[in-house]
Subunit: 322 residues, 2 copies
């Protein structure tokens, strides 16, 4: 994936060039700090790759890519306040390093900076870009609210969970991909295929993330393993296990809920979810979304579009150390 | 001001038609609640009036007007969290009635709703609208950050204070007015005159607000009188009094700072600021910005534009029960 490495370096370089050396310091210093924490830059990469299908130079799609990345970081800064998360990518979150007020306000500014990147396309493409971006931004907020609502609910269904992750994380991938097509003045069918590809890939990716949270290699996963289990988070894996335990009359799921948040709880869940079939069932759902994403790509390929970089990126994203 | 009453009713009606009857309830109910709290609707009124100068029907300028009003309400919801304000317009603030997380997230959604109003102008005017709006939104955040920074600073100057209120409150009035000119495809000179008129009027209006905070009629002012004095807020009135006291060797200003926040502190400040000349000096500064605003209107009038509704609105705003 040499191509990706080169794009990542390009993205890092362009992100570092964004001018956050501005006053008041308490408003912009947190942004420079947070953007420098890194990340996979997967979302802006999707915009660049999507544009490249239509021979759009990366210098042309970069502002849309940066819009997506800045928006993503804005949502992380605000989510971290709401989730009371002390650490992000191994460093203190903005509200921890500064305070909540500064995190709210610098987040707000970052949101506007995302729109400023979009405003650089001051031509006939702007209305479509803005419409898609607005709709996506509202959906991401809806997803975050549902995620918070689910914490206190006991009757969350699998479909509700999928809808929540579709809104919270997947539509932004769809938006990132559709941006490339909008910038290249593609018709609605092409735009829609890329959008749907992104949404399905995003759902598959998030379900994989939930599985990795329990079964991932701690050293490779980069996050604490088992965090979801310790907090009884209602992921698809958890909901599948709950349903299967009820069907099989297996009381171990109730035992799990009562366990103190400690290492043996994680080990207990790993064995239980495997034996009860929850891991496999979840992998099947993940795969169905992945196949759906691939079908969208194949449709585009049949139209003669050069989508091979997106096939490669998908495989790269979904084969990471399961 | 019959014309204004009619416009206000029109605005109220259009605001009430915005669809906040959406899921999740915790995200949209706070918006319906907050928008229904009312307010003068002065900002969207400026957009409608500005458009009317160029014979733009209000049905054409309404979305830009709503964009301004929604943005204003977004900023109030987030500011109320930061200021820990329990009450707004006599009712509980969003973070008090719900919680801070819901206030952050529903504020974020309202911000996007503002952009969605703008996106309704899906034509050649959109780039200019978006650019002005983005710049304004960033400046409003800068102003709010400066306001918070000033709380812990002892060396705030009069110029810094004016710059803070220019950013925090006045540029939005300028933006509201320029929107009308952009929508009517006016040249840069006309747009700029309207923008500058709004900024100067906004500064005059805010300084008047600071004076009314101490000298206003409690029943007519609608807010607690003396709030700024009780918290030693560094308004222009306060900074003028500080400077004049130092020049005149009057130790009463230091006495004021040491007083407990109670009713006699407010009475003490009223007398002191009057006797020391701070009230008059502040009124002079206010008037200079008001005259500057009027000059911008006169320039537009000389170009043959029908700016009389803006003269009327300015007089109406600045003669309110001083």
């Amino acid at each position: 994936m040499e191509e990706l490495t080169e794009y990542t370096q390009y993205l890092e370089s362009r992100i570092s060039e964004i001018d956050f050396d501005r006053e008041p310091r308490n408003l912009f210093d947190p942004l420079r700090y947070f953007l420098a924490l890194g990340g996979k830059r997967m979302r802006p990469m999707l915009t660049i790759l999507s544009g490249s299908i239509f021979d759009l130079p990366r210098e042309e799609s970069i502002h849309a890519a940066l819009c997506i990345e800045l928006f993503h970081n804005f949502s992380l800064i605000h989510d971290d306040i709401m989730d009371e998360a002390p650490v992000r990518r191994g460093k203190a979150t903005v509200h921890t390093k500064w305070n909540s007020n500064i995190a709210i306000l610098s987040g707000d500014v970052l949101f506007v900076e995302a729109y400023q990147q979009l405003a650089k396309y001051a031509d006939a493409r702007l209305p479509l870009l803005l419409k898609r971006f607005n709709e996506t931004a509202i959906e991401v907020c809806q997803g975050q609210q549902l995620d918070m609502d689910f914490e206190s609910r006991k009757d969350v269904t699998e479909l509700e969970y999928i809808e929540m992750i579709r809104l919270k994380t997947s539509v932004l991938l769809g938006c990132a991909l559709e941006f490339g097509a909008i910038l290249a003045n593609q018709d609605e069918e092409t735009r829609s295929s890329l959008y749907q590809f992104g949404v399905s890939l995003g759902i598959a990716f998030q379900i994989q993330d939930d599985i990795l949270d329990l079964y991932g290699d701690p050293e490779l996963f980069g996050k604490q393993v088992g965090g979801d289990i310790l907090s009884n988070k209602k992921t698809l894996l958890f909901l599948k296990a709950k349903k299967l335990a009820a069907q099989q009359g297996d009381s171990r799921f109730d035992d799990l809920l009562k366990m103190e948040p400690a290492k043996d709880k994680i080990e207990f869940a790993k064995v239980l979810f495997e034996e009860i079939g929850a891991r496999n069932n979840t992998l099947e759902v993940m795969d169905s979304y992945y196949q759906s994403a691939m079908q969208n790509l194949k449709n585009l390929e049949e139209k003669g579009l050069k989508v091979s970089p997106l096939f490669k990126l998908s495989a790269y994203l979904m084969n990471r150390n399961v």
